[in-house]
Structures are given as C-alpha cells and as structure tokens.
Symmetry: C2
Subunit: 476 residues, 2 copies
C-alpha cells in the first residue's frame, strides 16, 4: 500500500545533494547552522551553501545564488526572508530541483488571508516545476540513515520508529528525547504549514517504508480532514499509528492557529475520528515517547495480564499498592499468581512483611541475598498466568542496601532474564536523590533493549496503549 | 485546635532520649542500621542501643536489655521478632517509656485474626503503662528539627511541610524526593498498622504544630472512618491537606490488605469523603510531591489566570500549543494578554514566527539577545490580566543557542524576577539529552525558592490543586 509514495518522496528523505539557501559566514544565520549540522552529521552527498555574501563555511564555498551551484541539486533547505520565496522558487524550477524545504516562516500562520495567498502561489510554481514543498515554517526532514539531522544537530542511530510533526519544536524535542531514551528513528519530518506535502503524504510514505515499523504523529489541524482520516485508517491497518493532537483546548487551539495556521476542530471530533481510524490517541510528549519506545521494543505484542514486582529492597508495600492502582487505572489486569508460584515464593521469602499475591513485594529478599531476589523474580516471570512483568526498581533504596555493585548485578539479571524470556520485562526507575546512578542504570537497560519508564503510571499507560492497537487488529 | 495533641505527641517527635532495641554489632540488623543513622544524623540526646549480643556500635555500648539502660528513656525504636513484643512491652512499662515505635511486622497485615488479637493486647499494655505506640510494621518518625531520620538515613533541612503515611516505603520515598526537590519537612511519620496512634492523631498534631503549614498524607484504609473524616474536615479548615489514597483499585486494595492490614473502601466513597472534608485528592507520588512543593513555596496563594511562556530558544510553537492544552485540561485559564502588553511584545519580538497571544512564544528573542528575552518575560509577568507565570525552559534548545553561560543568566533572571514579583513564577524543565545541565539548573532554581516541574502537565496540575484548596476556603 502507498508504494508510489516511496518513489515520490525519495528525494526528500534520500537526496543525493542538498543546497542550503540563506547561509553565510555569519554564524547567527539559520542557514549557516544547517550547513554546519549537515557537515557534522556526515551527510554523504554534496552540500552547497548559498548566500549573497559569499565566502566559505568550513571547507565549503558559499555560492552567491542557486544558478552558481556546480552540480545537480536534489533538495534545497531554504532560510531566506519570506518576501523572496516566490522569486526563489523560479530559480529552483530552472535548476530542476526535486524538493524544497522552507524554514522561512510568516505565511498563513501570521496572516490568514495574504499568507494563504502567497502559499497558493508557491504551490502553483512547485506544480509547474514538478517539485515538492516541505513546509513552510518547519525544520523539515530527519533521517539518520541518510545522515540528515534537524537544525539542532543531534542525530541518533537509525531505527524503526517514524514520525511526522506539524511542529518543529515538538519534532526536535521528540528526536532529542529519543536520543536520550534510545528510541531510534527510521525517519521523521516536521512539515509546518504543510502547503504541499502534508501529514497524509508523510504518513503514507512511512506506511510503505520498509524501515518503519511504528509511526508517531503530532498534529494540530489539517486543511483536508477527509483525506487525513482516510489515510490514518489505511495506515493504521498496516502499522501501529500513535497520534498526539495538539490544540485540543481553546488556549491550545488559539496557539495552533498562530503556530501553523491550523484551524483546530473540536477535541471530541478528533478523538472520535482517531478512534475510528484505529489510531492510538495520546495526550502529551511523554506519552507519545513512552508508547513509541514500547512499540519499538515489543512490536505488535499483546497481553494485559501484568505481574507487578516491587520492593527490590526496603519499602515495597506502599509501592505495590500504588503500582496496582496505576495498572488497573490504565486498564491492565493484575491477576493472582498461580498457587504453585505463591507456594514457592513463600518458601523463598517467608510470609512476614512480604506480599505474595500480585503485586508482589519481594523486599524480604534483602535478608537472604541477591540469588533469592533473582529466583523470586524469575518465578513470577515464568508464571503462565502472566503476560508481562513490570518491575519497580527504586535506586534510592537499592543502593544503600546492595551498593553500586548490587545495583549492576540486578540490572545484569534483568538483561539476562529479558534474553531468556519471551515475555516482556518492563522496568520502572523512579527519580529520587541518586540521579547519576539512576540515569546510568537507565542507559544500561535501554541499551539492552529493556524499556524503562520513570513511573509505574507511565509504564502501565504505555503497555495499555500497545494493547489498544493489538486488540483492534484482532477484531477488525 | 488540637493543641492537646502537641503535648501528647511531644515524646514522639521531640524525644529527649531514644533506645533502639534489636541492635547488635551485626550490621545486617535493622536495629543496628537505626543506631548508625541516628548517630550520623546527630540526634542530640542519648542513643541507647539494646541487644542480647552486647558489644559496641561505634562509641556506643550495646545494653543487653532495657533495664540495663543507665538513663531515662523517652522513646523506643523496636526491631525484634514479633513473638517477643508483648513481653518486651512489660519492660517498657517498667522503665516508664513514653512512646514505642515498632518496625517489627507480622501482625494483622499477615494474619487478620491472630495478628489483630496480638495488636489488641499490645494496645492494652500500652494503655496500662500510659505509653503510646507508633506502628507496628512502620518506619516511624522523621523530624529534621530533632535530627531524627528514617532508617534509610537521609535527612533534609527543617521546613514547613508535614506528612503522614501508612506506608514506610512511600514515606521514605517522599522524604528522598523532598531532599532532591527541596521540599523541606517539619516532620513526617509512617505509622503502618496504626494500632494506637493512627492517621487521625498525627493529622491533629500537624494541624496544631506551629512549624507545619501544609500537610500531605498517604492513606490506604482506616479502622475508624468516621473519626478520620471528621478529623480531616477539621484539619483542612486550618491548613491545606493533600491526600493520596492508595488501594483505590482491586489490585491496589488487595495489596493494601497484605501491607497494612487495611480494609479498603471503594475509591468513590473515599473521593466523595475527601471532597466533603475539603482535602485535595491526588493520585500518585509525583502529584503529591508536586502539590506539596507548590504549597511550600506559595502558601495559600490563589489565582487561575496563567500566562504560559514557551520557546526561550527555538521551537516554541508546538510547546505553546501543548502547554495551553495542559493548563486548560487542569482547569486553569489562559486569558489573552492586555492589548498594551501585546503591542510592546510585538515591538520587541516582531510578528514573524512569534505567538504574541497567550501562550506566548518568545523564540524570536534569540535573534535579538538575552535582554530582549528578559524584557519580554517581564512584560508578560507585569500584565494585570495574569495571576501566575508558567515558563517552559527546554535546556536541550537553550544550551546550543545561549551556551551554559546564557542558561545561567536566564536562571539568574528568573531568580531576580521572582524576588521583584509578587506573582508566582513557575518553571518547567522538561528532561532530554542534557540531563546534568538540566539537573543543575533545577537545583539552582529550587534553592532560590522557584518551584520547578518536569512537565507542563504536572506544573498545571499542581497550580490547579492549590486553587482547589484556596477556592474552597473562600466559600466555606
């Protein structure tokens, strides 16, 4: 499905060469930043800086105009004043450019009438020249495989998560959070006002893209709702589609109008449409990132029967109680463990101070050593009544009891368990007063493909979101 | 109100001397840990370790039994097997101990019938000896002023936030999170099964305590619901009372029964009762900590008209949209700025790429320097249409544009603004890939009494929670 989009958008995600227009030796210019960032990222094709002032950026010559560029130009990144864009597009047509990305802003998002008028003329010129436009008012393409970062410059490993975002800020933040949490992207795009290529085009591309296995989206509004929802429905049939709709409220919608020129529809209409399309609606950046992380690790896994393990050291009781609440609030089941498992746990841990139902409080293991802790967790993970294991590991209490070495041993055990088990192992590392050690542990687990969350609420929500997709697939 | 409780519980929170029973040179014992922790914290009175094995813990002699202790004993912390507690209480009566805290567990939370039976006998003995019991199955008292930490040992500065918790784990975690986020406690208590002193007693004490200005509570259940709700209603009239009810769901409630022997009532009944009592219900540890932090900084401030400032550097648009949603979802208002403010902002920032309504996107200031940024923020803060200013500061985008020095200058400006302004300034520092710099910035702002949150959703929720209290106070 949508295979034609792969060919159509190939110059956008895999350009052979990139010209950056609005660059100069003056480092304050956005164009200059883009040149540096493409160079640092190691974009493998020619990079052509273009700017009136000439000179050099690093080893690269700055050409006074597009027509002075010596080679073929597949893709152009534009950061020039908005007054010049129409004239500039003529140059692009002359040079047979395949696609143009406009960082330049100040169109329909600023002036609904005159801005829209200019935008229509831009699209007209692009059609005549057989060119595609990304933006305006956007930071455009992010493609680790092709070494194309956003303007901010950070670029993670190539992975399986694709995303589209109407907002450059959200796109950039998602890329950065992805870098920190080992969410690896196949490609992403911020498309701003989306006057030519818009959410529907990019969603279709990602649906067809063999590198992309799950798709995230931040959307504020659309100029063609019928097409968008038809597209989302088709896309969600082939890959999980996680959508965060910004501008659900009056304050948000007003900001959205000024931001990407979007006329927001009511939140209820969007929610209903997303539900009908089979997309998973999420409500903030954290939930979007959490859900994409989990899809990345688990694919289209399903299962709602959660075992919750708390109290790796002291104080598991209250955490078990609240973790049980968090899971059930999110729609997960927290079934009793099998009688055999409970018996064996009782033998391992004793009864006093332990909760041997589910949630399971294994804090008594601290008096019996790490082997007891590991055997207890493995017992729970092996229980056939359980689909997924959620483990709360509070570094603040693990450290004083087991020391740094013990913390590392525990995480080694989780990694081994994850490799032995077909069941997902999800770890919750709540923040506290040992942040360096906690962040280190988080990195270690994430690198070993264990999903990590900072609260049980967020972990449970993400697991539940996965099930919302899987569930739908089974019955439609 | 409840002034009699101050006298009654003085030996609990301000004991002259503490005996720790169940201590030995063997460092694996909980009692030993408690002795070390009291010594390290600098408890100013005599500490008497008691344990059969004798020997020394640091400079302190371990006495074979309570009757060998040379001085008066106000308070006893008990970590001995549960089989010995009744006999042990006789020794306490003989020594005219004023209060006893039982870490020892394995009573009604393990065996509803036999455990309850032992608990009743314990209370009977305490009554005869004119003693009070904290616990059993608890980590007891936390009082920075008197240098009494929990067993885990960390102890923050003395402050204005009091808390009661049925769970030792939650109490300990709240203390640790408080340490990390500069939530400073007057005193706290984990009371476990609460067989003698329970939530009502401690809430009454904190209501009367002149050092306490706001009260947090984690509760799982109660043996005397009528008294608890009467107490909460009286307490909430004099001080803000923030309550997290654990065990709202079936899984949580089952864990609660095994944890503190609590029979949980339905969540709906609790929510209704908390609402009627004028308490602010919260739903997890993060929201409890967030709300207490904000009450600590702002006291009984009120105001729902929020200005949201985003885009301190690039990419403020999408953040403004989603921040607007977050605030309105939480019940805050995001009113338009006055015309004068908008005009002046337009002159400062220009129109292109800026959102000059509310939420305010000030990202254009990056092309005009920090002074422009500061003047823009000050303009918004001075607007009389606004009660509170919520600023999203994304370190991931501030750092590359303004460098570490710029980040520090921005935070200095916030601190100055906070000192000039009567309006609350709330800062949101979302996590990303520059965690060390972000954590450093967070510490700096928190130390200067600026409340910091890691997401706009959490900030907005906390501001809204403050208003729920204040609002109620005005109309009842």
């Amino acid at each position: 499905m949508f295979e034609e989009k792969l060919k159509e958008l190939e110059p956008v995600f895999y350009p052979g060469s990139i010209a950056v227009v609005g660059a100069s030796a003056n480092s304050r210019k956005a164009g200059t930043a883009w040149v540096w960032t493409l160079m640092s990222a190691g974009f493998p094709g020619p990079i052509y800086p273009v700017g009136f002032s000439g000179g050099r950026i690093g080893d690269l010559e700055v050409y006074p105009s597009l027509k002075h560029v010596p080679g073929d130009i597949d893709y152009v990144i534009v950061a020039i004043p908005r007054q010049s864009v129409l004239e500039f597009l003529d140059d692009c047509v002359t040079r047979q450019v395949k696609a143009v990305q406009f960082f330049t802003a100040g169109f329909s998002e600023m002036d609904a009438h005159r801005g829209r008028d200019v935008e229509e003329k831009m699209v007209e010129k692009a059609r005549q020249g057989n060119m595609r436009i990304v933006g305006p008012n956007c930071i455009g393409v992010y493609c680790p495989e092709r070494r194309i970062p956003f303007i901010m410059g950070t670029l993670g490993d190539s992975g399986s998560v694709g995303f589209v975002s109407q907002s450059g800020g959200i796109a950039g933040k998602l890329a950065t959070v992805g870098l920190a949490r080992h969410i690896n992207f196949s490609k992403g795009v911020s498309f701003g006002n989306g006057i030519d290529l818009d959410a529907s085009d990019f969603l279709q591309y990602l649906a067809a893209d063999p590198k992309t296995r799950v798709i995230g989206a931040y959307l504020e509004g659309t100029r063609d709702g019928a097409r968008l929802f038809r597209t989302m429905k088709e896309v969600a049939r082939v890959k999980p589609l996680v959508v965060w709709k910004g501008g659900r409220t009056e304050a948000g919608a007003q900001a959205a109008a000024s931001h990407t020129g979007s006329l927001a529809s009511s939140a209820a209409i969007w929610s209903a449409a997303l539900g009908q399309a089979g997309a998973i609606e999420v409500y903030n950046l954290e939930e979007l990132a959490d859900t994409l992380l989990l899809f990345q690790q688990l694919g289209q896994w399903q299962g709602v029967r959660a075992a919750i393990i708390g109290g790796l050291a002291d104080g598991g009781g209250g955490m078990s109680v609240s973790a049980g609440d968090a899971c059930m609030d999110s729609g997960l089941e927290v079934p009793p463990l099998s009688i055999d498992t409970r018996k064996e746990l009782g033998a391992l841990l004793g009864e006093v101070g332990s909760i041997l139902h589910n949630p399971v409080d294994v804090s008594q293991a601290q008096f019996r050593g790490l082997e007891t802790l590991f055997r207890s967790i493995e017992l729970v993970a092996n229980d056939t009544a359980i689909d997924v294991v959620l483990i709360q590991e509070d570094v603040d209490i693990v450290l004083p009891i087991y020391s740094q070495k013990g913390l590392e041993d525990i995480n080694d055990f989780f990694i081994g368990l994850r490799n032995r088990q077909s069941k997902p192992i999800v770890v919750v590392l709540p923040p506290g007063s040992a942040e360096p050690e906690r962040l280190q542990a988080e990195q270690r687990l994430l690198k070993a493909s264990i999903p990590v969350f900072c609260s049980m609420d967020r972990a449970a929500r993400a697991v539940s979101n996965l099930n919302r997709y899987s569930h739908r697939q089974r019955f439609t």
